[in-house]
Amino acid sequence: MQIALSIRNLSKEYTNFGGSHRVVSNLTLSVPRGEVFGFLGPNGAGKTTTIKMIVGLAFPTRGTIEIFGEPSNTRTVRARVGFMSENPYFYSYLTAQEFMLFSASLLNLSSIIAHERTASLLNMVGLSGAADQQIRTFSKGMNQRLGFAQALLGDPEIVFLDEPLDGLDPLGRVDFKRMIQALKKEGKTIFFNSHILSDVQELCDSIGIIHKGKLVESGPLTRILKGRESLEEHFIRVVGAKK
């Protein structure tokens, strides 16, 4: 079994005038290729900081992050990674199509491939009709869909999604879950943050629970739940006990 993501002893401290403040503490976990991994935790637990360090938006204070055996901060690795941020927001005066083509040129895709993928991804996320609409007219859900399409533009082997299901209406959530399942079928590795536990239980092969910057538990979902309780009951029991 090949390891897609491997995090070892990862810590992140922010120093300001008052002293240092540890957001992520000695985190170690790995995600096998082809799995859907759910990264759970209450608000402020360090989920987003971890994902930012993985995709290179923040820098670890200590520890290493490897993707497919290579350090995560190299350009070759970033070409194989897709990322969708929490509440994504894009260039408001561009149309969805222009934004996709712009992202494609950052990925150094040829014009033909860029146009093909833009059309098919916008179609997949249900934005074909809004392709020529400026992004500033988009609803939150539409932004979310565009963010998802953009993350898949480079045909990445591993996709990081920060709160992908947050703020979507029920139909949107169904759509997103279907799309994530489709990606898994294509053999892609998916790492996502969430605090909507029922969705995680539905989608994930394995999970990690982070609380106050520390990894509390991680492993295959079936092993963690042992078939006896729901993820929600388990989460409350594990995180609640620590409070």
Partner: protein, 253 residues
């Protein structure tokens, strides 16, 4: 290279779709036309007034664009998190900065060209005669604008828009006070004089690009003057971009 062009193109496209740009440009065009009216009440000094006001107006309007759009270049992207999408792609952070620089440079090229066209038209209507110096001055104005873009970009990569607008304005004022500073230094003691001399050599000296006076009185430019000015701008802008890149490389989001 492709990514630089993509970011530059995107910056250009964003800024020319911004309504603020059109509001500023509209005032610029009004100003160009106002030169005719002001020229007509100047006791036949209209050609001078039109040239002075036209050249200064083109600069001021574009400087306003830099202060409003340029100082937002990076900070707005950080604010709106649109930078996440860009920096997580397989590109260097320097690519982002260079692309931003050329994007705004392209926007300013268009606005300068539009205003210059009106300016030249006004001069033609007034039978003022077009000396090559006018075009030289427009080119020098544009180079100074590029200089200020680089300064704004550098500040924008680590401070909020309002702060970077103020810093850019401060640099503009210092950059045009070099002659006064030197004069002040001549009267001071050796230590202060040395500090001021060092300062005038290290800080951006924007007076080098100000040939508006030469234009009005038809004093020809010399080859070395042009050459050294271009070399000065190119090297200084490069250094500013390197600084901006290094600041952005340390930034976390």
């Amino acid at each position: 290279m492709k990514a630089v062009i993509a970011i530059a193109h995107n910056t250009f496209r964003e800024s020319i779709r911004d309504r603020l740009l059109y509001a500023i440009l509209f005032f610029g065009l009004l100003l160009m036309l106002a030169t005719i009216i002001l020229g007509s009440i100047s006791l036949e000094q209209d050609v001078k007034v039109i040239k002075d006001l036209g050249l200064a107006g083109i600069f001021i309007i574009n400087f306003l664009i830099i202060l409003s759009v340029g100082t937002n270049l990076v900070s707005k992207e950080i604010d709106r998190k649109s930078i996440y999408t860009v920096l997580t792609k397989p590109i260097e952070r320097s690519t982002f900065i260079i692309g931003k620089f050329f994007g705004l440079a392209a926007t300013l090229f268009v606005t300068t060209a539009i205003m210059s066209t009106v300016f030249v038209a006004v001069l033609l209507v007034k039978h003022a005669g077009l000396s090559p110096l006018i075009f030289a001055s427009l080119v020098f104005t544009y180079i100074e604008l590029l200089f200020l873009v680089a300064i704004a970009l550098m500040f924008s990569s680590f401070t909020a828009p309002v702060a970077s607008a103020l810093y850019t304005l401060a640099f503009f004022l210092i950059g045009h006070s070099m002659t006064s500073l030197t004069r002040f230094g001549e009267q001071a003691g050796p230590f202060v004089r040395g500090t001021i001399t060092a300062g005038t050599h290290l800080l951006p000296n924007l007076e080098k690009f100000n040939i508006k006076n030469q234009v009005v009185y038809e004093v020809a430019l010399s080859g070395p003057q042009v050459l050294w000015t271009v070399v000065y701008a190119a090297t200084y802008i490069t250094v500013l971009i390197i600084i901006a890149t290094n600041i952005l490389k340390r930034q976390e989001f």
